[in-house]
C-alpha cells in the first residue's frame, strides 16, 4: 500500500515537472509533444517500479494492461511489459511447506532431486527443476495466499490505475471484472492442469508444435508438475539470428495453433506473451495454460463475422454486425453511429489485412506501427472518450488480447505466415 502511495506522489511530481517545463517552453507545439512523451516515460517507470514490488494482483494487472496497448499510453505499456520477468522468489522452506500441506510429503520424498532456487519465475509463482527416474520436471509452485490477496490488491490498484491512466470507471468496469475472473482462474492450478491437458491433446495433431506432458499425480492446488523442456524463450529466439525459414516455420506454428483454438475449439490460450513459449529442437513449445478463455459459439460467430470480406466497404452490413455485438447501442445518435462505423471500418481494414493477403509478412514494420498509431489516435480522440455506456462484450477483451498478442509476437518474429479465413467465412460458404 505504501509502495503504491509512493507512486501516486511520484506521478504527481512528474506532472509538476511537466507543467513547469511547459511554462518554460512557451507552448510551442513540437516541444510540448516531446515533453509529453518524456513525461509518460518517467511516469511509466515510476509506476512500473512500484508495481514490480507487488506480487500477484497488481503484477498481473500490469501485464494485462500492457498487452492491450490501446488502453495504455505506449510508454506505460513498454514499461509494464518488463513486469513479467521480475518477481521476488519464494524461499525454499516455504516451497517445502506448500508440498507438506498439499501432498503430506516433502519435495525430496516425491522427486529424486529438486532445485532449491527457482529456475525461473511465473507471474503468481515460480518454477523449480526436479528429476525422477531419469526424467526432468518443471514444477510450478504458487505464492502463498495469492488467490486471496488478489481481490484486495485489485481493489487497491483499480482506482489508482484509473486515475494515473486517465480512464473512466464506467468504461472499464466490465474490463476489470473480466480480468479479475481470469486472474482468479489462474490461481487454480487444478483447473490449469485440466485445461492444459485438454488443449494439448486437442491440438496435438498440429505441425511443428509440441506440449509438455503433465503429471496429475505430482500436482495439487498449489503445485503443477510438467515435463521439463529445454529451449529458447520465444523473444530470445526472435532476437537471435534465426534464418527466415525458421522464422516462418515457428510463426506458422504459432498462427495455426491460435487459429485452431479460436475457430475450432472456441477455447484459447489467452496469454500470448513471449515467456509462455519456447523454441525447442526447431519446434514451438507452449508452456503455460494459466490464462485460457472459453467463448460461446454464438459469441464466436458474432465476433468473427467481422472477418467476412463482404463487410469491407459495406457500411450497412457493418452496422448490422456492430449492433449485433452491441458496439452500437440504441441510445446512439446518428453522428455517433457514423463515427463508430468509420472507426471500426478503419480497424477492420487494418486488422483484417493478414486475412486478405494469403501469405502475410508480419515483418513489415509498417503494419504493427499502424496498429499502435491508430490505437494512440483513438486514445486521444475526444469523441470516443465522451461516448457513454459500456459497449461490446467483455469477452472481446481476451479475444483482442490474444490477437494483439499474436500479432506482436509474429511481428517480433518477422514471420511470413500463410493465412486463410475460417471455413464458414470463405466465399460461397455463407453461413
Amino acid at each position: 500500500m505504501a509502495a503504491l502511495g509512493g507512486t501516486g506522489a511520484k506521478v504527481g511530481i512528474n506532472y509538476l515537472k511537466y507543467y513547469g517545463r511547459r511554462a518554460l517552453a512557451g507552448g510551442s507545439d513540437s516541444s510540448l509533444e516531446r515533453h509529453s512523451r518524456e513525461l509518460d516515460e518517467e511516469n511509466a517507470s515510476a509506476i512500473y517500479n512500484a508495481f514490480s514490488k507487488l506480487k500477484g494482483g497488481p503484477l498481473k494487472l500490469a501485464q494485462m494492461l500492457s498487452i492491450d496497448r490501446n488502453l495504455l499510453p505506449r510508454a506505460y505499456a513498454d514499461q509494464f511489459v518488463q513486469a513479467q520477468y521480475s518477481v521476488p522468489p519464494l524461499s525454499y522452506p516455504l516451497v517445502v511447506k506448500t508440498f507438506r500441506r498439499d501432498f503430506g510429503k516433502e519435495p525430496l520424498d516425491l522427486f529424486e532431486s529438486f532445485g532449491r532456487e527457482a529456475a525461473h519465475g511465473a507471474s503468481i509463482g515460480q518454477v523449480h527443476k526436479a528429476s525422477l527416474k531419469g526424467k526432468s520436471y518443471a514444477v510450478k509452485v504458487q505464492y502463498p495466499g495469492v488467490a486471496e490477496s488478489l481481490k484486495s490488491d485489485l481493489r487497491v490498484v483499480k482506482p489508482i490505475a484509473l486515475r494515473v491512466l486517465g480512464l473512466r470507471e464506467n468504461d472499464v468496469d466490465q474490463y476489470f471484472r473480466e480480468v479479475e475472473a481470469r486472474l482468479l482462474e489462474e490461481t487454480d492450478y487444478s483447473l490449469e492442469l485440466e485445461r492444459s491437458m485438454h488443449l494439448s491433446v486437442s491440438s496435438s495433431h498440429l505441425e511443428n508444435i509440441r506440449f509438455p506432458k503433465y503429471y496429475p499425480e505430482l500436482s495439487s492446488r498449489h503445485v503443477l508438475s510438467m515435463e521439463w523442456i529445454d529451449g529458447q524463450q520465444l523473444d530470445l529466439f526472435a532476437d537471435g539470428n534465426p534464418s527466415q525459414s525458421e522464422r516462418d516455420l515457428i510463426g506458422q506454428a504459432l498462427w495455426d495453433f491460435y487459429s485452431h483454438q479460436v475457430h475450432d475449439l472456441n477455447l484459447f490460450h489467452a496469454d500470448p506473451h513471449p515467456g509462455n513459449f519456447l523454441v525447442s529442437e526447431g519446434r514451438l513449445c507452449v508452456l503455460d495454460f494459466g490464462c485460457t478463455k472459453q467463448i460461446t459459439h454464438e459469441f464466436y460467430r458474432k465476433q468473427f463475422r467481422f472477418l467476412d470480406p463482404n463487410l469491407q466497404g459495406n457500411p450497412i452490413l457493418l452496422e448490422e454486425a456492430l449492433r449485433d455485438l452491441e458496439v452500437i447501442i440504441t441510445s446512439d445518435t446518428k453522428k455517433e453511429i457514423s463515427q463508430i462505423i468509420s472507426l471500426c471500418g478503419t480497424w477492420l481494414e487494418l486488422l483484417g489485412r493478414p486475412f486478405r493477403a494469403g501469405t502475410f509478412d508480419f515483418g513489415d514494420p509498417g503494419f504493427l506501427k499502424a496498429i499502435y498509431d491508430l490505437g494512440e489516435e483513438n486514445r486521444k480522440a475526444d469523441y470516443l472518450r465522451t461516448m457513454k455506456g459500456q459497449r461490446g462484450s467483455p469477452d472481446t477483451i481476451y479475444v483482442n488480447r490474444a490477437f494483439f498478442g499474436l500479432y506482436s509476437l509474429l511481428g517480433r518474429l518477422r514471420s511470413r505466415v500463410k493465412v486463410s479465413l475460417p471455413e464458414w467465412l470463405k466465399p460461397g460458404n455463407n453461413a
Binding site: 521476488p88 519464494l90 524461499s91 525454499y92 522452506p93 516455504l94 517445502v96 511447506k97 507438506r100 500441506r101 516433502e106 525430496l108 532449491r116 505464492y143 502463498p144 495466499g145 488467490a147 486471496e148 490477496s149
Partner: protein, 224 residues
C-alpha cells in the same frame, strides 16, 4: 494436548503436565493449587513435589518441551544441514506455523493477552531454549558469511530473533486468511528483511554515523 487419544501409560510427570494443561484450557486459568492437581490425579502431594518444585515450574516445563520438540523436528529434517542460516530459520518458522494449527486455541489463550515484549515467567525456559537454538543458527550464518559479525552487538541477535518469533506468533493469532497463508507471507517478507539487515553494511554505517554525530550533539547540547 488432548488426553482423549489412547497412549501408553504415562509417567507421573507426564500426568501432572497433562492435568495442568487440561485445567488451564478448561478453566481459562492455571490450576489454583498443587492440591487441586493432586486430587484430580489421585496422587499424593509428595509425588507431585518429587517431580516439580512448584505449579509454575509445570508450565515452564511444558512450554520448554514444546519448543524443543519443534526445534528437534525441524533440525532433524533431511536437508537441514545443507540449509543456509536463513533457510534454517524459515524452515523453523514454517514448522512452527504448521504446529501452531494443532494448538491454536492454547496459543490464543496464553499469548493472545500479552504484548510482544512482555515475558511472563512461564516463558522463561522456552525463551532460553529458543535462544540457544538461535545462537547456533547465527554462528552457522556467521561462518558462511551470511550474517555480518558485529562484535559484542552480535550477542543481541538471538534476542532479536526471539522478538521476531513472538511477532510471527502474534501475527498468526490475528491472521484470518484461508489456511493462514498470510502468516506464511509475513514470515517470508520479515525474514528476508531481517537477514538483509544482518548481512548488509547499512547497520554498520548507521552506527558509525551515530558514533560520529553523538558526541557533537551532546557537545552542542551542553553549550545551551
Amino acid at each position: 494436548m488432548k488426553s482423549t487419544t489412547k497412549r501408553r501409560k504415562e509417567t507421573t510427570r507426564e500426568q501432572i503436565i497433562h492435568s495442568y494443561m487440561d485445567q488451564l484450557q478448561e478453566n481459562g486459568h492455571s490450576p489454583v493449587s498443587v492440591r487441586r492437581v493432586c486430587q484430580e490425579l489421585n496422587i499424593s502431594e509428595e509425588a507431585f513435589y518429587k517431580e516439580f518444585p512448584s505449579l509454575d515450574a509445570v508450565e515452564k516445563h511444558f512450554w520448554k518441551t514444546w519448543m524443543e520438540k519443534l526445534i528437534k523436528a525441524v533440525s532433524t529434517g533431511k536437508e537441514w544441514k545443507s540449509f543456509t542460516a536463513k533457510q534454517q530459520y524459515l524452515a523453523f518458522l514454517f514448522a512452527f506455523s504448521e504446529e501452531g494449527l494443532k494448538c491454536r486455541s492454547l496459543l490464543e489463550q496464553r499469548f493472545g493477552k500479552i504484548t510482544l515484549l512482555c515475558n511472563p515467567s512461564w516463558l522463561d525456559a522456552l525463551k532460553n531454549s529458543f535462544k540457544d537454538f538461535a545462537a547456533e543458527l547465527i554462528s552457522h550464518g556467521m561462518e558462511s558469511g551470511e550474517i555480518a559479525s558485529r562484535g559484542p552487538l552480535g550477542s543481541f541477535y538471538p534476542e532479536l530473533l526471539y522478538i521476531h518469533w513472538r511477532s510471527v506468533l502474534e501475527y498468526f493469532l490475528k491472521d484470518e486468511s484461508q489456511g493462514f497463508e498470510h502468516t506464511d507471507a509475513f514470515v517470508e517478507k520479515t525474514v528476508e528483511f531481517a537477514f538483509d539487515l544482518l548481512r548488509t553494511q547499512a547497520i554498520d554505517s548507521a552506527t558509525d554515523l551515530v558514533r560520529f554525530l553523538l558526541p557533537k550533539i551532546v557537545h552542542f547540547g551542553s553549550k545551551h
